[in-house]
């Protein structure tokens, strides 16, 4: 169970724009174990999607480029592979599902054809064998009347069903890693739960490791075991979901957790501050123009001289939780005051 499927080491992806050099992913490292669900959270523009696309080597060049680090899938470094070899891996050993199922599916191809394509491509199945397996996959993801659905076009399915079809397509070849980029953001709340359930079920059955990219901490709490919090292209906190949520070490993480509206707030000694919704003041900085020192400092209530001068190291603050903050220990103290 602790077998590592994916090891990312100091990944760096940049974009060359008129505004200058944008370091979208600036030295991100993590590992993924078999069957584990890792969540990557952060606001829009923090680099989580770019990280995912970098793992799949789907970054358009120009204007982007992976300029450093390694991504090891069972030993082989994906960054160094040539395109032909990488294509054999995409959809086969690493797969990805996207946010918008309507626009992410080809409108003029039947669902069955699109899913079979992956099977024919990677497992050299015949058309018929691929279609059979496709229908079985559609059944597994919970689509009723799969034989009929396979002959239909994307616009004939509902949003939830399309997303299920996307999942079926991604898992058809039984990949070791599934990257889910905001899989439920475009769906209704009730459908969201269903889709998450489908992913969880498949994870149990096939033993796929899942990287879940989202900005929704509620989903993280429900489905993930470990979480990485990203800000401005770097990791700011990492640890098990239980521990990070209970005792967040980084002020940004605390801010994210505090900005979740909760029905029936748990009152902490009749503390006013824990009842009011707290927002994080300020905005994410332009990635082409990052401040020196800690990138979160301009928005941080705990920021001091050293924060503005030097980048804090990413180290273990409490057992099992890593963070990059000069004042990690003080976070809890201030909130409980």
């Amino acid at each position: 169970m602790t077998e590592r499927v994916l090891e990312v080491d100091e990944l760096q992806t940049v974009f060359y724009t008129r505004a200058g050099l944008v370091k979208a992913v600036d030295g991100v490292s993590f590992s993924l174990s078999r069957g584990e669900t890792l969540a990557i959270v952060g606001e829009s523009g923090c680099g989580k999607s770019v990280t995912a696309l970098s793992l799949m080597r789907l970054i358009a060049d120009p204007p982007g480029r992976i300029v450093g680090g390694s991504v090891r899938l069972a030993g082989a470094d994906l960054v160094k592979l040539d395109e032909a070899a990488m294509r054999k891996i995409r959809g086969n050993r690493i797969a990805m599902i996207f946010q918008e199922p309507m626009t992410s599916l080809n409108p003029v191809m039947t669902i069955g054809r699109q899913i079979s394509e992956a099977l024919i491509l990677h497992q050299e199945m015949s058309r018929n064998a691929a279609l059979e397996r496709t229908i079985r996959m559609l059944d597994v993801v919970g689509i009723p009347e799969p034989e009929q659905r396979a002959k239909e076009f994307p616009h004939q399915l509902s949003g939830g069903m399309r997303q299920r079809a996307m999942i079926a397509m991604a898992l058809a070849c039984n990949p070791e890693v599934l990257i889910a980029d905001e899989p439920t953001s475009a769906l209704d709340v009730t459908i969201q739960a269903q889709i998450l359930e489908v992913i969880a079920k498949l994870r149990r059955e096939f033993g796929t490791a899942v990287i879940l990219i989202t900005h929704d901490l509620g989903i993280v709490a429900e489905t993930a075991e470990r979480v990485i919090v990203m800000y401005a292209g770097r990791k700011v906190e990492e640890g098990s979901v239980v521990r990070v949520f209970a005792d967040p070490q980084h002020p940004y993480t605390r801010g994210l957790i505090n900005s979740i509206p909760r029905l029936g707030l748990i009152r902490n000694r009749a503390d006013e501050s824990s009842r009011r919704l707290q927002e994080i003041p300020g905005m994410v900085p332009a990635l082409s123009n990052l401040p020196p020192g800690c990138t979160f400092a301009p928005r941080c209530t705990l920021a001091s001289e050293i924060c503005r001068r030097e980048v804090p190291p990413f180290e273990e603050k409490i057992p099992g939780v890593f963070a990059a903050c000069w004042h990690a220990g003080k976070v809890a103290a201030v909130a409980n005051a």
Binding site: R90, S104, F153
Partner: protein, 315 residues
């Protein structure tokens, strides 16, 4: 699909009516009529003669009546009489149609044959040297007046072979006819190819930007598969519409090219009729052109509806 068909048909009929009114009005913008011109060139005005001719031609009736008679005639297939030759208009127009039709078909064929593949290649290899070269060629195709291209081709022919390809009447042998017509068809077709190429290119580029192309790549599909299986299938749909736009484009080219190459077709006849102020002919010919354009667009829309699963299977 059924309601779509009915709706489009009704729209088509409505549009045709509107066009007939427009044509009728356009030709009568300036006060005075054919009789003034006849007498202008004669040098004097004989009022009685003028009134007599006016009555014969039905020009003394109120405008609405004149329009009504024209439309009624159209429905019956009676296009009135040509001023100049005094033969029934339909006898002048009908025999000239086949040549123009063949020329148009050839030009259309050339434009698709060259335009679509080159447009796809240009899009797939965006911003490479090949793309730039193709874009420049297509832009120059759109910039050259087609009559000038015709003249240049004639010049080249005369220079290299010493004779001018003359098409007086159908040479009987189909292949010979196609060969002879290919030359003016190339002149007309060059501009059309350029248009088709540009539109195919932008349609293809638009498709390549879509999310489902990213999904296809994420599945590990090769570039060829992405471009042809996934992208082209979607890009072709707008290209079908392009053919409808091209029909209108083509007609303008036919008019001047038939004039340059002296081809006895319907398009050249329009110009002649205008010069001779033969208004019944002009009216009917322009109406004919409009009908062709509208019908072609209608057929194109129907084809599109059949090809696009989003319309064929309405949810």
């Amino acid at each position: 699909m059924g309601t779509y068909l009915v709706r489009r048909s009704l729209l088509m009929v409505l549009t045709l009516f509107g066009i007939s009114v427009l044509i009728f009005v356009m030709l009568r913008l300036v006060p005075g009529n054919i009789t003034d011109i006849i007498f202008d060139s004669a040098g004097f005005v004989n009022e009685r003669q003028k009134k007599k001719i006016e009555r014969e031609l039905g020009l003394d009736q109120p405008i609405i009546t004149q329009y009504g008679r024209w439309i009624a005639g159209l429905a019956k297939g009676d296009l009135g009489y040509a001023y100049v030759s005094e033969k029934p208009a339909i006898d002048e127009i009908l025999p000239r149609i086949p040549v123009t039709a063949k020329l148009a078909a050839l030009a259309l064929f050339f434009s698709i044959l060259f335009g679509v593949p080159l447009g796809v290649i240009s899009a797939v290899r965006q911003d490479t040297t090949l793309d730039y070269v193709l874009r420049i060629i297509s832009l120059s195709g759109l910039s050259l007046p087609s009559f000038w291209l015709g003249l240049l081709i004639l010049m080249a022919f005369v220079h290299w072979t010493g004779w001018i390809p003359i098409y007086q009447s159908s040479p009987g042998n189909l292949w010979k006819e196609i060969a002879l017509l290919s030359i003016p068809a190339a002149a007309v077709g060059f501009r059309s190819s350029a248009l088709v190429m540009r539109l195919t290119r932008s349609s293809m580029l638009e498709v390549l930007r879509q999310d489902y192309i990213r999904t296809a790549r994420a599945k590990g599909a090769s570039d060829t598969s992405v471009n042809y299986d996934h992208a082209l299938r979607n890009a072709v749909l707008p290209v079908v519409t392009i053919i409808g736009i091209e029909a209108a484009f083509l007609i303008g080219g036919l008019i001047v090219t038939e004039t340059v190459f002296n081809i006895p077709g319907v398009a050249r006849f329009l110009v002649e009729a205008i010069r001779w102020r033969d208004y019944p002919i002009v009216q009917n010919l322009v109406m004919f052109i409009a009908v062709v354009v509208v019908v072609v667009n209608f057929l194109v829309d129907m084809t599109y509806a059949v090809l696009d699963p989003r319309i064929r299977y309405e949810g």
